[in-house]
């Protein structure tokens, strides 16, 4: 699949949203209860809405040449996740879940289907 350049996020904005997330994280401590962050990079368009809304700066955007959009969210500091699920509520693409019971087979099937046109 050809890698299109993500023209909707100039790298300057990516840096800005990451910067703000890091600043928020610096004011926090790792969470007492641990939460599981499940990502579906094959659906993630790297829009940054989850990174922006996470109150503890757990998520960051990162270049990802394996996806069509070239950028995905990553769980940069999973220990800081407080399980508020704001990211899951805000993700338009069903690409992030908190404390999710993922079915391995289903996740593989979804990933495989994504490339089928």
């Amino acid at each position: 699949m050809p890698l299109a350049e993500s023209k909707f996020l100039a790298s300057q904005d990516e840096l800005e949203v990451n910067q703000e997330a890091l600043e928020r994280r610096q004011k926090k401590e790792p969470s007492k209860t641990k939460h599981k962050i499940t990502l579906r990079p094959f659906y993630c368009k790297g829009c940054g809405l989850c990174v922006d809304i996470c109150p503890t700066g757990t998520l960051l955007l990162q270049t990802n040449k394996r996806t069509r959009w070239g950028v995905t969210a990553i769980k940069a500091a999973p220990d800081y996740c407080i399980g508020c699920k704001m990211c899951e509520h805000r993700c338009p693409d069903f690409a992030i879940f908190i404390d999710y019971e993922a079915d391995e087979e289903q996740e593989r099937a979804l990933e495989a289907r994504k490339d089928h046109e």
Binding site: D13, Y43, G48, D52, D93, F94
Partner: protein, 280 residues
């Protein structure tokens, strides 16, 4: 698997919307609302018209219908009358609800027919590249207003209240929790309900108005969002710039259209029986 994923048709994923588009957030909030109300997907139908919002039915794993531009409410009216006990959800964009479909909107409100409309207000005709809509803020630049939009926008809630709607609420895609809650309230409302969801089209509207990223546009929307109480204190000039959120009108006592029609049927059947009795 989450309970709301039961209402999602992953066979048609990934969705075609731009990264950060509010449409996906509204899709999720609606699916979450269905899940929290524990609705049977076989008893739900999602109908939409044309536009980016019009692609939404494709992703719901319920009965779904993608109709002609502006006419979703008319098809939905036929469906509701044909099967009054089903949940009929209509998803519309600016044009479908307020331009080409404007007439059908006010009649649906007037009739109080049991359809739940989710009106996605992103201030532009996104699918066709970013032309002005009846909801585009004044002075904005769009494809068809290169010198700045001279037309004032509708206030959807005012329009609907004038058309005697029995439920109208507004939320934004910045506030996914309240959005989901208000959609739930709307789905439980028996008559015609409208949830206007303010959304961001940063690619085709924001980009022409110095907001080319999802985050910059959602921040702009946040700046325009006020509570009902704050809105009530504002001058007319200030009001034109803001979007009050929350449930703006709710009338639970009004009878829904198919209920009233059922009464008509009963009366007609009764009259027919009496007429036949007289004839014998």
């Amino acid at each position: 698997m989450r309970d709301y994923e039961k209402y999602i048709r992953y066979e048609t994923f990934p969705n075609p919307w731009c990264p950060g588009c509010g449409d996906g957030i509204i899709l999720k909030a609606t699916a979450m609302a269905f899940a929290e109300l524990e609705l049977d997907p076989n008893d739900i139908i999602v109908v939409a018209g044309i536009g980016c919002s019009g692609r939404m039915p494709t992703f719901f794993k319920t009965n779904t219908l993608h109709t002609t531009h502006g006419r979703a409410l008319t098809y939905a009216t036929g469906i509701k009358l044909a099967q009054p006990d089903k949940l009929v959800v209509v998803i519309s964009g600016d044009g479908d609800a307020l331009a080409i479909g404007g007439n059908h909107l006010i009649h649906a409100a007037r009739r109080n027919i049991g359809i739940n409309l989710i009106l996605i207000n992103n201030g532009v005709y996104g699918m066709t590249g970013g032309q002005a809509s009846p909801l585009t803020p004044q002075l904005f630049h769009t494809g068809t207003t290169p010198y700045g939009n001279i037309e004032p926008r509708f206030d959807t809630a005012d329009l609907l209240i004038a058309a005697k709607v029995s439920f109208v609420a507004r939320e934004t895609v910045n506030r996914p929790f309240p959005l989901k809650e208000v959609i739930k309230k709307a789905l439980l409302h028996k008559g015609f309900s409208v949830v206007e969801a303010i959304s961001n089209c940063h690619v085709n509207l924001g980009s022409k108005n110095k907001m080319k990223t999802a985050l910059s546009m959602t921040k702009w929307i946040a700046g325009k969002t006020v509570t009902k109480a704050e809105y009530a204190e504002m001058s007319d000039e200030e009001k034109r710039q803001k979007y009050p959120v929350g449930v703006l009108k709710q009338e639970d006592e009004r009878l829904e259209y198919t209920e009233i029609y059922h009464n008509v049927v009963r009366a007609a059947v009764e009259e027919q029986r009496r007429a036949e009795g007289r004839a014998q």
